[in-house]
Symmetry: D2
Subunit: 409 residues, 4 copies
């Protein structure tokens, strides 16, 4: 076990202080792979809607680790045995669970690194760090991969009650100023328990879990899927797709070396090797935005217009409905644009398009939340809660949107 | 209109500063009838569960007035005409809407002032103050009584979207430290609008209203109907009923003159006259608790034991279930107590009893919440919300409880 | 050591949750001596100025214990050895350090329990509880009395850096809404260290200590010595003195048995025996306020007027200056009152009087705050801080006030 | 006057909601010159010390405008006449007061745009916008330049009590999590008054002003001049100076067009023309950081090393003292580096250097803070405050630092 020699702390507007428990973890935080997260925004382009939303994946990762420390204390207090090594594994696993995120992750994954999930890349980073730190991350990796036999530890990293959600909802709510999304992470953690290596919520925590699911749903529609944010993200995806398209046609595009690499390569799980990881580790928000700033003056009509829209926050219009949009509306917008600027249907499609938004507040199939009753009984929360029709929260909601240019374009 | 001459402010941990808009309102606040609210706790005995819950009806009333100022500003901004006189009427009506509350209101109303609601008593106080202030409260009274023709003004005072709820949920959540109940009053107010003199919520506020209803439900079960709080309140009701019983048997009981009056009189709407109001205005938490402290040494077994239980927070046990309790369980507890202390069934009933708790998060019959869509359409929120099954919130929930003595009694 | 069996928590709006570490401490909290603190306001009559200031000594005591848990963790982290028994002693000592406070402590101590400090009474309570709990409080008592050889433990209970101040400044600031008094208790605690059994602040904490001293000074003048609060407290002292005076003249006064005892006895350290303690344990805010409410109708001009003034918040006027008041001004107010109501000089003195307010932000003589430099050197903070002239904070400030009736009296 | 047609609001974690008062102001905010502030961090590289400090100049500008709205309300309430046009001028002036800031302003001003202050550039932007908006900003410009005859309006924009400080201290404190710097902006604003067109603080606000000055001093040393932040900023200055140096030697450096322009031109007040402004408007944090990321691989030893240090947060060491550093220490570090890497003295100076930090909490010469006493007298706060030796705060404090490489370099 690493020695506890110095009290290292980070200031956090939410929790006050975040304490770094030992020097191994401190060294991981100091590593350039982790420092890079300082340059990756947690919420992508949401700051165009919520101007306070500039917090980073770096800060979120520290926050998760802080909550994990609390969870370990609560569970030990209740008699759940967790060794020092396991504690360390849990802390490292949660600290690094998101290290594989690239800049504007969602847009990236749907445009230039199609086939490799951020979880997979996180794992690659962890394995790389494990080499550098002489195997000290082995247990953490086992927990992260869900292979560690004590299942509740894996659930603390990834489940509907994991420390990831417990921090990000609170943090995103805090920085956006959307108070409705604020959850009482501490109360939730206080209500955790473990039976047969399974993570459970105690009976008296039922209302808090409901509240948590509702808050998540609220944040989903009010923040993550805010219609202006959706437009911005679609525009960014368009930019990256268009850039790739132009590159394939040998059109010259200025950008950083790391971004150049990803625009020019077809990356998938097989081709994603050590070199890819090294280059990926150099990619952050600054590569993307700096490229956008350059491309805003590019001669390509599509590329330059998309970039200007984001930079000047002069976005497309968007309509959101509960039913699919009419194709005829889409076509008339599209046709008007093609006529006005003499562009092709394919080019017009970057400015006129439809899409769907889906959310399911409670995943009732894969990872249920189980409730531990005083009597010892264990029930799925949907059945445990007699008050709110949680089934309603289990029903996926789908909305349909259409984007099209403002009149003045 | 009263002159605005001096900037009087109250500190409020929640809103920062509460500004008193004019000297008439300042004089009303200075009146002893209003000052008395400083000695009436907003949440009764809930501090036995939530030690921070010592805020008063005085502070809540100021908070409501503050929110009403915001609501008036928002509505005027949206083009709803509100004259200075109407504004003043709204502010006074909300300031005084709860002035008729006695100490531990719920327990009182179910024991010694059976038949007169606090709304009725609020009205009496307002009429009395109207005399003293030469008719300046006439418009406020009209709004409070729901008689003022501009219906939305009455709805700002009393409806599912009134400023009363907007403050008390936020305030109770703040002082108890139950963050889950915190609502974003300011956002709700920002979403208000008026069509055809009806108070509405704008379309983009639907999620906020849902969140507000959920928060209210949460507070209801987690705080207002917390099982320990329920026991305490039932014990207090028992104390007051027992005291009245003893008084009818001419047993001597020390207490304040005001409390003496109410223990010795049968008050109802007809007999509640000017004198009653004067005496009622002298009744506050201190009369009740001081009496309890004296009666804790009374020779009557029932009275002294009930008082000690509350004072030392050594309460009855309580079981809460979703189905009615079995009579047999009740009887066995009851019988044990009668045998042990040689008391009658009637006396034992003060320590062994059952009851029901009911809550309906959304009142879908009487006072609907209507949503104003961008298209101009207006719909009941239950129909407007396609996401959460708000019908679930409209279903009244009933729980059943049984109280009985701890083993050591 | 007591067993840790159940996670008992209290909600706290400030710290979130306060965890009760073991069943001995839980049982102490459950004891009626401690429960009584629920009925003693931390800030006396300050709520007449700051309507949110209704928090109790009960809540403050829990808060202190919470911070002590943090301090123990920080010091252990830095290598200071603290055994489980010592930790328990520290927690109990801080939990009970204020248990000897009566209602409206300051006013009481200057009127009816002249010669016995609340520290002395706290000690009596602790000794009594030590008997009931079979000696489990012995170490706590030793720390509380400053006799325990490891001096820093005593300093955590009572010094310029103790956990008492660390909680009450934060708590009073929170409930009054006076944000300027909010201190960063957690940062201060994080900067604590121990050398040679002496409690020190680390070099990088110098600014935080300065900030803390300034905040304390701010709270002193803005809150604790707020001129309206000073009047109210002086009036309350007058009430108690007048009551005692009347009792000596055999005038009948209604009040609770506990208050009756103290009005009729001369209590000092010698006569304060076990019986006195028992009766003292029954005295709380409700005895005082209930008496005031009764006495507001007493025939004695002085007593009834003083009581009405507080109850209706219709107080004396007050002038505060940096120089002593002129006797001539005092006399003219006094004479006017005597003439108008035909009362004696002695009676008029209850309504017309002068006084002094003194505060010294940093006590540079008795209990210095020492700073530990990275070099290992230790210096008094006044010498360590080169930035702010902390000497200025060491200089006692005295202000002078005069109270006199409003014109309409 | 612009019409008030739609309630536009921004979410702010600090103030809740920020309301945009009219469509002219809304259009200014929408302008790309203003939108650009979304990409300029308020606190530069401070996020390397305080990971939450990612808020932008965009958000700060909105916050200032919000506080100005409050100030206008308070002053009008007190009878100070402010016309609607003047209000609009005040709001626009404060909204745009910082629009001339470039990225990492302090570092820029000391390296590549030496001679033009950000105030001057703000003015250029305002004049440009005034043209686009047909003269609607004329009054705002007059206030901003300090030429408007009603002096207090200029003081609301720039003085020791201006709305700029009132927001940035609060905001920086909030996002860094350094609670000690939190000021009660609302109380300060409530205490403002105007006599003879001069902005004053009322007597009862003296303590709040002291608190504000102390908080500013605290933030200065704890945050703005935090030693790690100082190192980072010096490194950034070094990068920009080195880049300029290399460019003069015709060494090729990749960077954005806007940055290229400033690296290749000598800009001063005379040469700063309309074209310069246009290019300046395209410069933001992304140009600088993206350049750093490219240059981290440059063959120049100095440039690449400086860039890597910031990107990987692997900075120089720093010592801070109250006395100037010894030249001999400096030289030995310098010599060691020159030997090890075979670099020149000039190159070594980028890694080994000294500097000074100076702060004066209260500027007692130029812009005093005047206090308005109830008697009508007006005094400088230094003389008005009898409690704290504010002279101590007027004394400039100077500290000396030395930076040098870590051993491993």
């Amino acid at each position: 076990m690493p020695t506890k020699n110095k009290l290292k702390i980070f200031n956090d507007p939410i929790y006050g202080f975040i304490t770094i428990p030992n020097s191994l973890i401190f060294d991981i935080i100091q590593h350039k792979y982790f420092q890079r997260l300082r340059r990756i925004s947690q919420m992508g382009l949401s700051y165009l809607v919520y101007p306070g939303a500039h917090h980073t994946r770096f800060h979120h990762a520290l926050g998760c680790m802080h909550l994990m420390q609390k969870a370990v204390n609560v569970l030990r207090f209740k008699g759940v045995e967790i060794s020092d090594e396991e504690e360390n594994g849990l802390l490292i696993a949660i600290l690094l669970h998101d290290i594989g995120h690239g800049p504007f992750s969602h847009a990236m994954e749907h445009s230039i690194v199609n086939d490799v999930s951020h979880e997979e890349i996180s794992l690659r980073f962890m394995e790389e760090l494990n080499k550098e730190f002489n195997g000290s991350l082995t247990l953490a990796i086992s927990i992260f991969k869900g292979e560690y036999p004590r299942r509740f530890m894996c659930e603390l990293i990834s489940s509907q009650l994991d420390m990831d959600r417990a921090d990000y909802l609170k943090r995103d709510s805090f920085y956006t100023g959307v108070a409705e999304g604020n959850i009482n992470s501490e109360r939730l953690i206080t209500m955790l328990n473990v039976v047969d290596d399974q993570l459970l919520i105690e009976e008296k925590g039922i209302l808090s879990v409901e509240k948590f699911l509702i808050a998540r749903r609220f944040m989903y529609w009010q923040v993550y899927m805010h219609k202006t944010g959706v437009v911005a993200e679609q525009l960014l995806m368009g930019i990256l797709r268009r850039a790739k398209e132009l590159v394939l046609q040998d059109v010259k595009l200025n950008c950083s070396q790391a971004l150049y690499y990803f625009l020019h390569s077809e990356i998938n799980e097989q081709t994603f090797n050590a070199k890819t990881l090294t280059i990926f580790s150099k990619l952050d928000d600054f590569d993307i935005v700096a490229a956008m700033k350059d491309w805003a003056n590019h001669e390509d009509f599509v590329l330059s217009n998309l970039c200007q829209m984001i930079l000047n926050r002069d976005l497309l219009k968007i309509k959101v409905k509960n039913k699919p949009m009419k194709i005829s509306d889409l076509n008339s917008h599209s046709q008007a644009l093609m006529n006005k600027y003499n562009i092709s249907q394919h080019e017009a499609d970057y400015f006129v398009f439809t899409g769907e938004l889906t959310n399911q507040a409670y995943q009732n199939t894969s990872q249920k939340i189980n409730v531990l009753f005083k009597s010892g009984k264990i029930k799925d929360i949907v059945k445990a809660s007699d008050q709110l029709n949680l089934k309603a929260l289990s029903k996926p909601i789908t909305k349909y949107y259409m984007c099209y240019p403002k009149k003045k374009m």
